[in-house]
Amino acid sequence: MSETDVFGPLLEARLRQACADLRARLRARLPGRVEEVLSQDAELAGNPEAVLELIYAEWTTREELGEPPERAERLVKWVRRHPVVAALSAVLVGGAAASVTSISLLWLRAEGALADREAALRDLRDEKKKVEWNLSRLQLAAAREAWTADNLDEARRLLDECDPALRDDDWRALHRACHALRHVSPVLPTPPVFVAFGSDDQAVVAMAHGGAYFWHRNSPDPPRPFEVPLPCHGLSCTGDRQVVLLSVDIGRVDLIDCSLADGKVLRKLTFEGALDFGGFARLSPDGRRMALVRFQKEEIEVLDLRGGPSRKLKLKSRGRPCRSPSARTDAGWRPSRPTAWFRGTSTPARGRSPGTSGSRSPAWPSPRTGPPQSSETRSRPAPPKSCWWTSPPGRCDTPWCSRGCSTWP
């Protein structure tokens, strides 16, 4: 008996058991091609050597005969082979896991606390904003109260202390009201009763009882006084250095042209009996026109002091446009030209108001056509040389200004 006959069945049995074990333990299975070959070739299946060669050939061709062991199994084997290292690794991994877990928990807890604190901080900020807003409102109310009490310094201080981010329209309106006052002159010896701006808007003239004061608003110098010859009832500035004073005395109206440089009276014009039956006179801001209001008449007479025509404005116009003495409608002031009573074409009685000669007043020029070119206008006599504002100083022969002109320098 040869060795093959003796070990052949044993080897075959051993191989079959190994294959079964492999299938059972490693869930391995032969490639389908090997099983297919074995199932088709019974002779080959009965020849263990051929099977071994087949398996060897398959193995050498790197074809897997079974699945590799699982990682857990390999791990168990590795642990069994290296217990100390495995224990240390387990401790390290466990510690790391515990650390990560606790750190995560602490992180989550800190995140929650941070969110709570942020919410609380947000609430505090909102509350702070409300408090600051209420405080600014209170401060603005206090500033308004100080402003109402004419305490501008306190009001300005309170306004300046307000938070710039909370300054709204109310604050700006009050700030503007508090800073509207720009200049305050020194206190005059007597309270001023009239004020007027110069033509340059820089000079200010104040008229008080017993004198007038000239003041330049951008100058640090105090107001400079100058004498006024008559009690003043009106004031206007015609130029930088000239002022017209209006004085009314028992029906007589005096216009005095003074120089602000030295207080000298340059010209004087008197309207005798202009307000015989009561009334008052007013000067226009530029000093070029004067309005006479008579109590016994329901009209206002406007005199052009540069020599233009006079106008009579009815008080009971009921909203209709004012009419000129010639009944032509004109809503605005017109360029002036010498009036009839200034030109000498009208000679009202002495002591009579010049405006009462309305029938002799020239026609009111049309707004479109300009001054009328009538024969009367073209042939009108030249104005007197000493006429008010239009001629060099000299003696005036106009009846109603003879008294005043006599005082001209």
């Binding site: 004419d150 009201a177 006052l181 720009r182 002159s185 206190v187 004020v195 701006f197 104040a206 004061y213």
Partner: protein, 76 residues
């Protein structure tokens, strides 16, 4: 209009009216709309007279305390 007005002033353009007295501060009014404008406080004894400048940006008041005050009323 506030009671006790003692003086009024009209600007050159006719848009602004100022009214005041020795008891009340000068109150500016918009003539076109009739609405009150700036209130000029700062005169302890009120004002006796007032006048607008030619450009309408300034108002001069004669105060009851003897001082002349200049107000900048130019709108913002």
């Amino acid at each position: 209009m506030q009671p006790g007005v003692q003086h009024v002033a009209l600007s050159r353009d006719g848009r602004t009216l100022g009214a005041g007295s020795v008891e009340k501060p000068v109150q500016l009014w918009d003539v076109a709309t009739g609405k009150p404008g700036l209130t000029l406080r700062g005169c302890p004894k009120g004002s006796i007279s007032s006048a607008f400048s030619a450009d309408g940006e300034w108002l001069a008041t004669a105060g009851g305390d003897g001082a002349v005050r200049l107000w900048n009323i130019k709108p913002d």
